[in-house]
């Protein structure tokens, strides 16, 4: 188990190094930064001086090494657009994105798993058929369209919920949360549904097909033959056996939710990193873009690591294999 975690950590470090290299490489594709800094009448010797002090003419590996060392310390340079430190810009906006993503993911899980279980247990009921049909819409409609539809219905026609922004936020140390105010809670409903709907349908369909599969197994038949209650058979024995693939998909999708919150944040003017990224693309604000890339890479790596460890919690057979392969 320990050996497994260490191995995974090493892999994670390698992945992060690769991601860092890609985001580092972005800087080399937008011309000479010095030309952006200096005025037209700057003497040539001053330019040389500046190049030296910024270390731009150093060999590539040296520059990359410097980039990684700074990145590990959270120093990502200044934004071209606002001249603020990029690290702080991202940190200011990250809570908004993380809260939105988490609420969306919880919404998808809390609604998706029971719906999937139901559709798996009673595949022929009209409710299951309806859910399956509607879920097709959820899978096939683009996110921005769902967002606009929701805004139109709940904000414009009914006027129940705000159409944009995050509502009032409260500062808890460095973290600004919108989950503790009424307006903040109201504001998060539509964007999180928009963001989570696709995941919900995905999880529902996954749980359904896994349930159908598991319910056919001998141990479910035997559990019934032992006279266990339906609840014990369905939720104890069947559902737990569907969890490994569900955890995998949920983990991957959580990363995707955070990464692709860009669209939802844009539709709802949600002040998160996705919106920041989009604004930065418009201005070719390379430091912000490259930092965003590193951050998303980091999120994926962390989530995958957690998912891998959750497998061990759920499935005892993996624990045994881990032990034997670890003892080699």
């Amino acid at each position: 188990m320990i050996a497994f975690i260490v191995r995974r950590l090493v892999q994670a470090a390698l992945v992060m190094l690769a991601v860092a290299f890609v985001s580092f490489a972005m800087f080399n594709f937008v011309g000479d930064p010095v030309a952006n800094i200096v005025g037209q009448d700057t003497p040539a010797d001053q330019i040389v001086e500046l190049r030296k002090s910024l270390g731009i003419d150093d060999p590539m590996p040296v520059r990359f090494g410097r980039f990684v060392v700074n990145a590990v310390q959270g120093k990502f340079g200044l934004s071209y657009r606002t001249t603020e430190p990029v690290g702080r810009m991202i940190a200011d906006r990250l809570p908004a994105t993380l809260e939105l993503s988490l609420v969306a993911a919880i919404f998808a899980l809390v609604a998706g798993i029971p719906m999937g279980v139901f559709a798996g247990l009673y595949p022929n009921s009209w409710l299951s058929r309806t859910m399956m049909t509607v879920s097709l819409i959820g899978v096939s409609l683009p996110t921005f369209l769902i967002g606009i539809l929701l805004i139109y219905i709940f904000a414009v026609i009914l006027g129940w919920l705000p159409s944009f922004g995050r509502g009032d936020t409260i500062k808890l140390g460095f973290w600004s949360t919108g989950l503790l105010t009424v307006s903040g809670l109201k504001a998060i409903i539509l964007p999180s549904i928009t963001l989570g709907l696709f995941q919900l349908t995905l999880i529902m369909r996954l749980v359904r097909s896994e349930m159908l599969e598991v319910l056919r197994t001998d141990y479910i038949k035997f559990a019934r033959a032992r006279g266990l209650s339906n609840r014990a058979v369905h939720f104890g024995h069947a559902l737990k056996n569907t969890l490994v693939p569900v955890i995998t998909i949920t983990g991957l999708q959580l990363g995707a939710i955070i990464a692709f919150a860009i669209i939802t944040e844009t539709v709802f003017s949600w002040p998160g990193v996705g919106l920041l990224f989009l604004q930065s693309v418009v201005y070719a604000d390379i430091p912000v873009m490259s930092t965003y890339l590193v951050m998303i890479g980091f999120v994926f790596v962390v989530i995958n690591l957690i998912v891998d460890m959750l497998y061990f919690v759920v499935d005892p057979r993996l624990r045994a294999q881990g032990r034997t392969s670890g003892s080699k």
Partner: protein, 327 residues
């Protein structure tokens, strides 16, 4: 049989409605099991043995259904009980053991938890009492250091050990009847005998009756008190095991016994019954065995025989009919 009837199956008919018409998997099967008795049920694959067992325990897989007939447990009709009442009978009154011990246990739960869960479902015991009982059960089925093994997962047991756990699970609430559907088929031959011995010993100790479904005549000969031979969804012959083996009346049973290779005889070729069992959608008119029967005569091709007395047994064969033909 003087002992009271525990299980009574009367004219059971199991159907599978399909798009191409209704298949009859079990047709007009009647049998009885007395308390503590071991009834062997033999037949080829698809003869309806497992279906009969599944129907008795109320676990026919849809779209399969009991079309007609009655199943009575201690005189009480159980084939038409609502689901939740049948659930109380399963495990408590009728236990089941399935073919493959490797897949009968839930891989994600410790065997102890699966035992405790079953015990607590049926008996009013606390968790600690149920745990003690679980350890006792595992000891009974011959699992060494049971108190420790109770915390192990199924994958940490060998196939034979797992089937012992399955037997412990089936016996957990002291059912009166166990339906054992090919309990040894998936095991090594050397383990098969152990498991059969164990099953026989435990059932004798607990006074549990067994319906032993198998296609292994050797197992039946060793274990069963009575035997039912099934063919194409019907009972061909049923009677005390010695009579059926030594003095079979139905030509199918005769063929079946002849097909058992004996150690002493050096045969060039193994005996076999020509042809194969008809598919469920093409059961011939009259006696289902008539196209393969060496002693077939006209009546077999038109009229279907019901089991009728033949010596100590009952055989569904016109050869043993005493009364003249009606046609």
């Amino acid at each position: 049989m003087t002992s009271p009837k525990l299980l009574e199956v009367k004219n059971l008919r199991v159907e599978f409605p399909t798009r191409r018409g209704t298949l009859v998997a079990v047709d007009d099967v009647s049998l009885e099991i007395a308390a503590g008795e071991v009834l062997g049920v033999v037949g080829e694959s698809g003869a309806g043995k497992s279906m009969t067992g599944a129907a008795i325990i109320g676990l026919l897989e849809p779209p399969g259904r009991i079309a007609s007939g009655e199943i009575r447990l201690e005189g009480r009709r159980i084939d038409n009980l609502p689901y939740h009442e049948m659930r109380r009978i399963r495990g408590r009154q009728i236990g089941a053991i399935f073919q493959d011990p490797l897949t009968s246990l839930n891989p994600l739960y410790k065997v102890g938890d699966q035992l405790i869960e079953t015990i607590q479902t049926h008996l009013p015991l606390t968790h600690a009492q149920a745990r003690d009982r679980a350890v006792k059960l595992l000891e009974d089925v011959g699992i060494p250091s049971a108190a420790e093994r109770i915390t192990h997962y199924p994958h940490q047991f060998s196939g034979g050990m797992r089937q012992r756990v399955v037997i412990a699970l089936a016996l957990a609430a002291e059912p009166k009847l166990i339906i054992a559907d090919e309990p040894t088929t998936a095991l090594d031959v050397s383990i098969q005998a152990q498991i059969i011995q164990l099953l026989r010993r435990l059932c004798r100790e607990h006074g549990t009756a067994v319906m032993l479904v198998t296609h292994d005549m050797g197992v039946i000969a060793e274990t069963a008190d009575r035997v039912a031979v099934m063919y194409a969804g019907r009972i061909a012959e049923i009677g005390p095991v010695q009579d059926v083996i030594k003095r079979p009346h139905h030509p199918y049973t005769v063929g079946l016994m002849g097909a058992i290779p004996a150690m002493g005889h050096k045969a060039e070729r193994l005996t076999q019954i020509d042809g194969s069992m008809p598919r469920l959608n093409a059961i011939p008119k009259g006696c289902a065995f008539n196209p393969r029967c060496p002693k077939v005569f006209d009546r077999c091709r038109v009229e279907r025989p019901d089991p009728m007395p033949a010596g100590n047994s009952n055989a569904a064969c016109w050869l043993v009919a005493k009364e003249p033909a009606h046609v």
